[in-house]
């Protein structure tokens, strides 16, 4: 390895130079193809984000009402706003329910489907089950939310009717009590989320070279050892993708909360995006709502960057290791 490194330098500058030259000409040629994305990015993301920052520096009711300069006042107000902090605390619960638990269960389900069911009952059974797990992802969240609301209704919902039938005198008030509302919402989110890691992990498992498993098996490694030494490292890129996309989704979750609880009861299931919406639209405190959205945006970007840096580092380490 060291010899290769030492041999490389003399030829390196020349190749790099010519490559750079070719690249700069190509760049001009590709420019028109980049334009649509660039325009869409500017129109859909950059301009609204800029406007949002501008709004967040004002007190504004919206519409044709005058904007009144407020500087960083909205942001300092946020620091003292208990509901704002509650909403971010609940974000941690959302990450647990949309990232951590689904990824772990998803990994378990995917390996079970792939290793056990797929091999014993054929690929068709495995793909039918995989599709079943994915179904909640396809269902519009509004529909799923309304259904869960019916099922969890404290008086007439299926769950409590069944519980009463089997003799539970006071079944939990699932979405109505501050003690159970957040855990209940988390359960629904896990149900919604689980199909996504299952599908990604199953395709990842198909990508893993079977020879690795055969070699390990010949060396006498059991299922658990193969899982830890081969499966987990091999599917690391997919794990990063799932973690990144799901974390972003968990931080900006809105639909399920809007349909299930609207942040209630007693603000116990408030999340940042819903709180921002509440201020922006219902309370006509546009500047304040914009400030919440900006804090959320910065936080999401920061967390996404951290995850991507970790991913790049782990990928580099893997390449160096080989």
């Amino acid at each position: 390895m060291t010899t290769v490194d030492r041999a490389a330098p003399p030829s390196e500058p020349r190749t790099r130079g010519t490559r750079r030259g070719r690249r700069s000409r190509d760049w001009v040629g590709y420019l028109p193809y980049l334009l649509p994305g660039l325009i869409a990015f500017t129109v859909v993301i950059l301009i609204p984000f800029g406007m949002n920052i501008w709004y967040s520096l004002h007190k504004w009711k919206g519409g044709n009402a005058p904007l009144r300069w407020y500087g960083l006042g909205n942001y300092t107000d946020l620091l003292a706003d208990e509901q704002f902090w509650t909403s971010f605390r609940n974000s941690i619960a959302m990450i647990l329910a949309m990232v951590v638990v689904p990824t772990l269960i998803g990994l378990l389900l995917a390996t079970t489907l792939f290793d056990v069911l797929g091999k014993r009952f054929g690929p068709r059974v495995a793909s039918v089950l995989r599709a079943t797990y994915y179904l909640p992802q396809i269902l519009p969240v509004a529909v799923a939310g309304v259904l869960w609301n019916w099922i969890l209704n404290s008086q007439t919902g299926a769950v409590n009717v069944v519980l009463r039938e089997i003799g539970v005198a006071n079944p939990p008030n699932w979405l109505g009590s501050t003690d159970t509302a957040l855990p209940t919402v988390m359960l629904v989110l896990i149900w919604i989320q689980i199909g996504y890691p299952v599908v990604i992990f199953m395709s990842a498992l198909q990508r893993v070279d079977p020879e690795l498993y055969e070699a390990a098996e010949l060396d006498g490694a059991g299922w658990w050892h193969r899982f830890r030494a081969i499966t987990i490292p091999q599917i690391k890129p997919e794990t990063f993708v799932i973690t990144l996309t799901c974390t972003v989704a968990a931080l900006k979750v809105f639909g399920p909360i809007y349909v299930l609880t609207r942040g209630g009861p007693e603000s116990s299931t408030l999340v940042p995006s819903y709180y921002s919406y509440l201020n922006f639209f219902d309370k006509s405190k546009v500047g304040y709502g914009a400030a919440i959205a900006n804090v959320l945006t910065v936080l999401i970007i920061a967390i996404a960057v951290v995850i991507m840096v970790l991913q790049a580092r782990s990928a580099r380490r893997e390449e160096e290791g080989r």
Partner: protein, 436 residues
Amino acid sequence: MASQRKRYVAGALALALPLALAACGGDSSGGGGGSDGDTLTVWHYENDDSAMGQAWAKAIDIFEDEHPDVTVTVENQTFEQIQKNAKIFLTGDDVPDVMEYNKGNATAGQLASQGLITPLTEEADSRGWADTLPDSIQTTAMYDEQGLMGSGDWYGVPNYGEFVGVYYNQDMLDAAGIAQPTTFDEFEAALATFKAAGITPLAEAGAEYPLGQLWYELVLHYGDRDLIDDYQLFADDVDFQNEAFTQATEKLDEWIKAGYIASDSAALTAEDMGVSFINGTYPIMVSGSWWFGRLVEEIPFTWTQALFPDNTMHPGSSGNLWVVPENAANKDLAYDFIDITLRPEVQEILGQKGGLPVAGDSSAITDEKTKEMTENFESILDEDGLAFYPDWPVPGYYDVIVSELQSLVNQSKSPSEVLDGLSTAYQDGKTDLLEG
């Protein structure tokens, strides 16, 4: 060379595509007619079968007769769509000439203070709307510069009214040997009798408006008109720890503790409440006249509607308003249309269908139940007894009331803590409103 040209064509296409998409977006949002004076675009969100839907269809017929050269376009929207998006779409040019909008400080008042809807005072005077409409109905039509109702310019015109009363399941009252309560004490005694017989008396819902309205009925029971003017119209400062608010909140707490309201109703919706009254689970429902049509249609047992016993003021108001967007193209046609909706022919349809007309006459109503309800409403108007709704004073207060009263149902807060929560949000909202 050829490939070069292709590249530029692709680039041009790429540039043009988003523009084309944007153009499509602009077209498909539809709505506004030209400023040519030969179209009238009306947006509303009432069902065609409802009293309002039928009355307004008649109004459009009359309008078309009187303006043979004008095409009327009616676009059905949803309440939520207009409620949430009005302040966005009204800043554009693609707006209707006249539209239905929710009334109150937090809604029409906001649009008025944002300069998005047209002042109608001149029309109200010259066309006589100011004389036609009863006083407590006019309160919700006028807004000042800060968007507070009750004074300032006219910004909207209501056609119909609504109020909250008590619906009784007469069969269940009879079975329990209870006469329909006429005083507050009798009402409480009836609740106790039902509870003693193992029946939870009140149909309630903590996740939406119903519980807040019951709480407000109690505030109105203990309070007076001055308190309501302070609370709703900011005539003076409100002390939430004063007698009326404290007594009302403690009474509600007492009822919850006594089991007059189901302890698991915190997350129930208004729909859940209505259904449980209709299917005979609970004998008493305190709620609004908007249930009337549905109850007539679906209830199999004998039922009655009455005012909340002993109260001289009742939650209620004018119905939604006709407003004219500032950017409307054909404002004069819009004024003509609004004027037509207040005519006796149109108001009579409202009355016959149980829509509680604001410029009508209950004596012409043929259906007994409709007549009973309309007379209840007229008696409130005669006493100037409309006290609006508890969530009206400040924007976003609805969620606060829902959340605080959920704490009461769940018994996670004391009445005093609930009042503190209500007070803080009220004062903050009021400060925001007054600062503009």
